[in-house]
Symmetry: C2
Subunit: 515 residues, 2 copies
């Protein structure tokens, strides 16, 4: 077998079942190897940001890596923004980036670039294959390292001649590294601190936002009265009726400070103490109260559920959690569609076990709040702040979980970054209902302009934040990529369109025009 | 003034007139500074690949830098593929990449990344501002360095607090470095070699493909009988009736070798000896005949026109050039639209002084050949092999030259990478007629699959090269972004649609369905 075949066989043997791809000439041998490999599905994205974002969504939902196949430095570069988000989300992923044949590099052909330099900022691990058989070894290492709890971005650089040369062998499958457990002294210390007077919170992120870990956090809360707060941008939050509910830290620094005000003790699990997203003139970046005691019970790479379980046991917490989400009844107001009515309608229609890919931006506050009392679902948020995540992550989540409904709740500005994802939804007939929240604006920037101290912006500044003139027609763009679409301007229209989308299997898009 | 204002004032004082932008929160002060600066136009792109590609097109047509405004590491990353092309095209450009305030970096907020690491592979020069006034100094340096002949990619990293802090001053405008001239010994040597027996060629690239340099090359050809050949992917080739015609080196290695076969002497101006785009099993990367004498008259950074003029004088070349392009009469065949009829129709309708942004890929061979005998025009090709250049470069060229018609001749697969450029054409009412050459395929990959040795590819491999299922509807997508569009399936329909597009001022799109 050639190096490409040895790599793809090794990845399949390691449990990698899907390759999201946008290949070029230097990856043709890898394409041929995937073609022959019955155990690996190949999914084309028409832009690399779709490919890496889909791999992120897949990894978040399965806790297993998929592979991506990318074309040299520029192909990797096009996928970097969503790799940034995936790295921040701690998603397991294996990127395969083709390169020129080794002997060809010295000629500095037009597509030559510093692939290692490009890969490193958005990867946890980068390795260039050294020989045809080494390509498979790199694959075996990447499969294991990518699954280092909670997940890592691995990138293999695959020279063309390693892929096409015969005589390569598959590599031995490597063990996934053990997940470290929290230190017993830290558990004891956290238990002691919780017993002291004053308001406390358990602050959760990463894997601590899965149902099992939340259950244990809820037991701690039941015993101690601690609040349960989560990071602003969780990779995957399991929520809904019957699960332990969390307060989500607000995005804006001054609101976040207010939210944490008065807390005397904060126990962090799976996340570092929060900081503001951006710095602003004369505002602090640090958000926790100055006089609070902060304890890291488990850092992001330490088993979160285990730490919370042991903490619950250490304090003799009851068997059942507190803070369990109950159902609520909400009714939406008729008339023009607003953020509020949109949020209520989605909360009413969200199916049990749905997956939400949330890149709703400034249109999303009411949405997140109201869906707290929807049936159980997973909520995937843009983790690294690089916009253009929402539609690709929905693609990957739908590939990962073909029997679950996916809702992509997507702001219009960020949706334009990777709109090509709609085509992949159509080709693969993915069960994704996309809701474009259309406000014809980079809404966040209109807010931020004032917050960074710019007063009285002129028309030139405002034009850079504005998506009107011309207005985007998402129905036309969506249908142009094969996804049936309709527009909704009133709450009732949106309700009916969403009911139809949720009731139907396969891709749909609703352009929700917000007032 | 604050640092942002000092930077923008300094850039304006240095002659920078346009900023292509996709800003975020960390760039709001820069947006405000551009807003106040009457001398700088601001143009929004809805994706950063549009922004950097537009700056490339602008720089190719003006030989002056525009600025780009990009949002931190991920925003830069999204623009890197077209920066790769621009770097290969030696385009002058000044990227301004916002970063977090310096004090905020230690907190590793979600959008933090290694911006320098990301910038270096696709920049010739990267500099992080050290203070509010240093931001303007960096701008002054970038303006000069970007114009180092023939052009350089410069990138300034602008921390938020340098932008917002008052008390900054504008920087002194720096001189553009002098352009080196060819060594007289090299001129003499080249003249001597041309006088020896055997077939010779002048091989041109970069700035040697402008009208003035070509004129001198034509004089040398008139005297010596040398062939005039140009690189496969020129950044800007001036051609058409009355100009000195060039042979373009074929893309595929074996055809390129055949093209150069028999040459005994090759004089290179503005370009290195050509190599194959990719390596293939058992095929050479080097394309020039083994026994030919190769001379570098002027490297890419040496004044090309001066070197050719002095060579022409050294050999007592006639005042008038040879190889001057004459008009030819071509008629197209009626019926279904083919690559051949499309090429002939475009050659007939291309207006005098048009600018062509060519990313036609496998659909473009006949197109380039037939338009040789069109009226004078500029031809801009994808230089670095990173697809997604064509539409953005058309945007930038149209901004640079508002009184010239721009034709974007665009393959469908690569067009999908940066289709957001259509929206900017609509917003700015740019005089661009886009022709999408629709073959529902990554055509090149269907060819390359066999060339790299893959025989009998299966359906999974072929599906990764195929854009059908579903077919893209470019008319719908274009109209969704505000650009009027129509479809053409026959030669006559295409002729009529193109005549309308060329006759009209403002953006239009034609989906040319190829058999």
């Amino acid at each position: 077998m050639n190096g490409a075949e040895a790599l793809i066989q090794t990845l399949t043997d390691s449990g990698v079942k899907v390759c999201f791809a946008n290949p070029g000439t230097s990856e043709m041998q890898l394409v041929a190897a995937i073609d022959k490999q019955k155990g690996m599905r190949a999914i084309l994205g028409l832009f690399e940001g779709v490919v890496t974002g889909a791999a992120d969504g897949y990894g978040r939902m399965t806790d297993k890596p998929s592979a991506t196949l990318l074309h040299l430095g520029p192909g990797l570069a096009n996928g970097l923004a969503n790799l940034h988000n995936a790295k921040r989300a701690r998603t397991p992923m294996i990127n395969i980036v083709g390169d020129h044949a080794v002997e060809h590099l010295k000629h500095d052909a037009p597509l030559t670039s510093d692939i290692i330099g490009l890969a490193q900022p958005m990867s946890n691990w980068v390795r260039t294959s050294q020989s045809p058989s080494d390509l498979a070894k790199a694959g075996s290492e990447a499969a294991a390292i990518s699954q280092t709890y909670p997940g890592q971005i691995t990138t293999i650089i695959a020279p063309g001649n390693h892929a096409w040369t015969d005589g390569a062998e598959t590599a031995i499958i490597k063990n996934i590294p053990d997940t470290p457990k929290a230190n017993q002294n830290t558990i004891t210390e956290a238990a002691e601190i919780l017993s002291l007077a004053g308001p406390s919170a358990i602050f959760l992120g990463g894997r601590a936002l899965r149902e099992g870990a939340l259950f244990q956090a809820g037991r701690v809360a039941a015993k101690t009265g601690a609040r349960i707060i989560c990071e602003t941008l969780p990779a995957r939050l399991q929520r809904g009726i019957g699960r332990v509910a969390v307060e989500r830290l607000p995005y804006f620094a001054e609101m976040a400070v207010e939210h944490l005000k008065g807390l005397k003790k904060i126990i962090f699990v799976g996340v570092k103490p929060p900081v503001s997203f951006f710095a602003y003139p004369d505002k602090p970046s640090w958000l926790s109260p100055e006089d609070a005691t902060l304890i890291e019970l488990a850092d992001v790479q330490t088993d979160a559920e285990d730490a919370l379980l042991r903490l619950a046991e250490a304090i003799n917490a009851p068997k059942e959690p507190g803070n369990v989400q109950e159902a609520t009844q909400l009714a939406f107001e008729q008339g023009k569609l607003t953020r509020e009515s949109l949020g209520i309608i989605i909360s009413q229609l969200l199916p049990e076990n749905a997956i939400v890919s949330d890149e709703s931006g400034t249109s999303g506050g009411a949405l997140f709040r109201h869906t707290a009392s929807s049936p159980k679902h997973d909520w995937l948020i843009q983790t690294g702040g690089a916009i253009g995540q929402g539609l690709p992550v929905a693609v990957g989540a739908a590939v990962a979980c073909p029997n679950r409904k996916v809702l992509a709740l997507q702001a219009d500005g960020s949706g334009m970054y990777t709109l090509q994802a709609l085509w992949t939804m159509a080709r693969e007939n993915l069960d994704v209902t996309t809701v474009i929240m259309k406000n014809n604006s980079y809404g966040i920037l209109n807010i931020e302009l004032g917050r960074v101290g710019v007063s009285n912006p002129g028309p030139k500044a405002l034009s850079l934040l504005d998506l009107a003139n011309p207005e985007l027609d998402w129905v036309a763009m969506s249908e142009g990529m094969g996804v049936p679409a309709q527009r909704a301007e009133t709450a009732q229209q949106f309700h009916d369109a969403l009911a139809k989308g949720v009731g139907h299997s396969g891709p749909r898009l609703i352009e929700a025009v917000l007032v």
